[in-house]
Amino acid sequence: MGLLFVELLPRHGDGGGPASAVLKCRRCRVDAASADAILSRDFRGRFGRAYLFDHVVNISLGPNEDRYLMTGLHTVKDIYCSCCQQILGWRYEKAYEESEKYKEGKFILEKARMWKEAR
């Protein structure tokens, strides 16, 4: 172990604009993603609803795994909270269907594992 490196997501827009919501790990309350980074809310994870993000922070990556998901075969890596190590979702490494390739390099976060910070 050691001193964890914890990133903080900005709470205000650069020009002092409206605050954007920040999603945190439900267990340890460490920042995970900004609501601005949501690409889609129409995903399902292991525990129910999930969101697709293009950028997340404070995560560790697991090994590559091939999985059959609802939309076909994908190579994914599970992502864990870098602080408490609970599983938060996965990252798409490779999609084998042409129509699914837009997901490569994107992240799924499970709604059930997230906590939304009050504005």
Binding site: M1, G2, L3, L4, F5, V6, E7, L8, L9, P10, S60, L61, S82, C83
Partner: protein, 510 residues
Amino acid sequence: MGGFEDDEPPSKRARASSVEPASLLDSFSCLKPAAPLGSTMARPLPSQGKEVMVGSKGVIKRDEFVRIITKALYSLGYEKSGAVLEEESGITLHSPTVNLFRRQVLDGNWDSAVVTLKKVGLLDENIVKSAIFLILEQKFLELLRNDNVMGAIRTLQSEITPLGVNKKRVHELSGCIISSPQHVLLGFSKLGIESSNSRLKLLEELQKVLPPTVMVPERRLENLLEQALTVQREACYFHNSIDGLSLYTDHHCGKDQLPSCTVQVLRAHRDEVWFLQFSNNGKYLASASNDKSAIIWKVDEDGELLLKHTLTGHDKPVMMVAWSPDDCQLLTCGMEEVIRCWDVESGKCLHVYEKSGIGLISCGWFPDGKHILSGLTDHNFCLWDLDGKEVDCWKGQRSSKTSDFAVSNDGKLIISMNRESTIRLFDRETKQERLIEEDNTITSFSLSEDGDFLLVNLISEAIHLWNIRNCPIRVNRYAGHKRSRFVIRSCFGGSEQAFIASGSEDSQVW
């Protein structure tokens, strides 16, 4: 001995073959016995056509080699040894014409020196004119110093001006005539009062103007050896030696010069150790721990670390320490808590720095030793005096729970993390700001002792080295260590801080 004609008498060929570098050294050892025989010793005739080479690579001309050795002997004051070497080798340091020229310059026979110079056989007219100018300038100044104003004027008008070179200097010389005697003396002080000293300096100037084949440059042998030593040191990949270089052997630091074995394990903390820093003088080591304490270790004569003080009082894990410039005090920073200042000698807590409702996350000393700097959880930086009064505050744009910063040795430049992949260099005097933009999130950085380089650790398991002397330039990049969840720090070290060391999540030190 292809350098000699086949019809040469065998005795002369045998004589020449004995003059090898090793034989030269033998010759030195018996210089005195050889001296009485000098007049009767047979000398090899100058080779015609192919030049005689020495050295295993065949690139060193023998006569050049002997000449720079002769020059070194004379420069060291070994007049007799130099003369004997010239006689024994048959290779004179300078030609008779050049020797005459040198003697005339030192004797102040300016007109004769100019005549002799034209006989040396120089092909470049500009070089001849430049050299003559230097001689006549010396003549002019010495005439002026001897109050021979008319002679000086005649030299300037009839001899110097017709050369048509260095017109600017000619104007300055004209001004000397019009100046008062006091100014003339001031002018002379630049050349040296003693004419013999100024004439020796003139000879050195002439040596720079004339081709080295005419007059062997001063300290040529020393310069060549210094170049060799410099090349050896720069080629020394693991150079980490504080000993001087030696002429006896080629310089080489082996890999064993780098620390690679564990020599001591320190066991006093009850939880993870998060930060280490040696004092500026290297006599102490401070460690900061997740167990809410810091420890001051003392380095004894054998290099072993002994526990000196355990510093307790923090309510949170200690995440950073900072030594005062004089190493008498130590700052410790509790995680998002307070900063404590400790007396190193007694281990007592001298002061607590805090701001109500806001946690402190980093600490450092100003170079004057009278102020401390800290990062805060509200993204600001604060400057405090030693009594805990806040004297300055400025805004940061923090993007992580750690917040490295550094202050240059003169206290003017403050370096801090700014957003996730930017480092801000802020000049407190000019209020100018420079930015270092990285391609990945920055996790930590450290500043070199001379303040010219910044070592930046990135989230992507890379370390970048930046030269921040002027516009920041990335000069190097390192990879190989592991980082996935934790703050990994790097530092400069070794002889003249020529190495960097880095922690790693695979329990190695890189």
